[in-house]
């Protein structure tokens, strides 16, 4: 079993599996991973677009989503749909609280201080999780039945489709929110020019709060849907955050669509790398993509070089 727990690693393949089947397997694994990275990247992008901050605690929202739902459904035996809703609500509150208590007071601090405060948040959440749940990984039963579907020789767990469908819903919902609703457009306005936004009556503080809340919600959803496949433990956050950040940078800073596409690209690259080359180094793939983009073309695939120069990082 490979380290992510998703899909087989090279050694578990039954000899009968054709190369095409393997590829299909990797593709779906990649899409699954990619969904999570895409959602983490989306969360990053939301906060970044509203505030100019990179929230280094983003991965922890995913982690909390996974661990909290385990608590609700496995310990309190609450039915899954209700547990899902409760989890997302709770983690959203955590995100909002984090913004109010840690980000808001420091709104005029230097970039480095803001980076460190989100880092502190990440450590705090991790510590809290370690304290409440310990160091062991927790499992969640798949949403619908455990028998894998067979498609062209590949063996696919049904949870994969839950993940993909929910991801698409989240993406569409977010796109609708940002492009069609007034609140969403207001949030985008804040990042471009907080002063102008304030002058036209947008409550910038509330937009910042909303961005953190929404990011936490999306992170929580990602955590809930992925736990049946990969399990969840208190330390999952940082690597997820790094990979989500890679996706955001690859896709082009501030571009929601870019982040999502890039998330899937990285997921597939990672899956192919793990399957075809070596699973030990698979985490390094996303990291190398990250460094390559930052070092060579920080504006990413879909961002413009000028726009990224102007961003007040």
């Amino acid at each position: 079993m490979s380290r992510t727990g998703i899909g087989p690693s090279p050694i578990d393949f039954p000899t009968k599996m054709t190369f095409t089947s393997q590829l299909i397997q990797f593709l779906f694994t990649g899409l699954t991973l990619g969904s999570i990275y895409a959602m983490v990247a989306l969360g990053f992008t939301m906060i970044y677009n509203a505030t100019g901050i990179i929230n280094l605690a983003q991965g922890e929202f995913v982690m909390l989503g996974g661990l909290v739902i385990v608590f609700f459904t496995m310990i309190l035996k609450i039915p899954l749909p209700i547990g899902f809703a409760l989890t997302v609500t709770l983690v959203t509150l955590v995100g909002a609280l984090f913004e109010r208590l840690a980000i808001q007071p420091l709104k005029n601090a230097s970039v480095i201080t803001l980076i460190i405060i989100t880092l502190a948040g990440s450590i705090l959440f991790r510590g809290l999780a370690m304290f409440l749940w310990g160091k062991d990984p927790y499992a969640l039963p798949p949403f619908s039945g455990g028998n894998p579907w067979h498609f062209m020789g590949a063996s696919l767990q049904p949870q994969i489709f839950w993940i993909l469908v929910i991801t698409v819903l989240v993406v569409c919902g977010t796109a609708f929110f940002f492009n069609r609703t007034l609140v969403g457009k207001a949030m985008t306005a804040c990042a471009f020019n907080p002063l102008a936004a304030r002058l036209v009556g947008i409550d910038v503080q509330r937009m910042v709060l909303l961005s953190f809340a929404l990011s936490a919600a999306i992170g929580a959803i990602a955590g809930v849907i992925i736990t049946p496949i990969t399990l969840m433990d208190y330390e999952r956050g940082p690597l997820l955050a790094l990979k989500g950040f890679s996706a955001m940078v690859l896709g082009g800073l501030g571009s929601g669509a870019g982040s999502i596409i890039a998330g899937f690209i990285i997921g597939i690259l990672e899956s192919l790398g793990a399957g075809l080359i070596s699973s030990g180094y698979k985490d390094a793939i996303a990291l190398l993509v990250l460094l390559a983009v930052l070092w060579v073309k920080p504006s990413g695939l879909f961002g413009s070089a000028e726009a990224s120069e102007l961003k007040k990082f």
């Binding site: 840690a102 370690m130 790094l242 180094y281």
Partner: protein, 319 residues
Amino acid sequence: MSRKDFWPLLFITLGIAVFPIVAGGSEYSISLLVFLGINGLTTMGLSLLMGYAGQISLGHAAFYGIGAYSSGILTTKYSIHPLIAFLAGIFLSAIVAFLVGKPTLRLRGHYMAVATLGFGEILFILFNELSPLTGGPSGLSGIPALTFLGQPIEGSAYLYLVWAFVILVLIFSLNLINSRVGRALRAVHGSELAANAMGVDASRYKVQVFVVSAIYASMAGSLYAHFVTFISPSSFSLMFSILLLMMVVIGGTSTIWGSLLGAAVLTLLPEYLRAFEDFDVLVYGIILMVVLLFMPQGILEGLRGFMERKRGSQSKSHE
């Protein structure tokens, strides 16, 4: 170094000199202070990078690891003399820092932070995966103790060795800060635009200070390896990079003394947290949050401000 640095320096030197006697030869206390010195060595480098030059690194455990593994691997697998291994570690760290630093330090704020984070993680993966060389997750053991004239350097002798390093590097750093180089670094921090306009090659200095900080970390790593004689990748993880960062931030980024204070706090604190094993990450998070929100200048500056206010109110009461 300037005049006001002389007294704390003297105090530390004398303090370390008499410590073994004061501690009654307690191996535990002595090793605690050895770790404090080793961490202090790394944080001084980070302080130059972050406090003076205003950059950030979330991956410094990587250089610490390079130093440790260089010393470890070369002395165990290739029977190379520890001093040569030590220098090899420095050399390797410097080169890696230069290659990574050049493209990374061009980035701004968040990008730099995440790039260094990614770099640190990649090194961590390498330490784990290059098992034939590093011993993989199970680690590398049997690292020889350092010897002098045939006698192993351990206990108080090692304490003196480590702190001799610390003090010499501290003096070097203080000299650097109060020089043309130090001013250039601080200028880059204060206003990179103006620094360049006044003839300071900001990019070059940023990379140079990054390399210097990597060298300090490498030296610390080598000293660590020979002290604990067993190293494994878990000591060079993201959490350690963050811990190093915390030491600098908590102690205070504005002076190099702050980083030593921070190293002291976060080296000694875990000893008290031993009993609460499940608490430690949580406590770190809380401490960091509290300091950032209420004492953003760090503990050292916080104390100094407190002292000054007391002095102010005392002189008022004399009127």
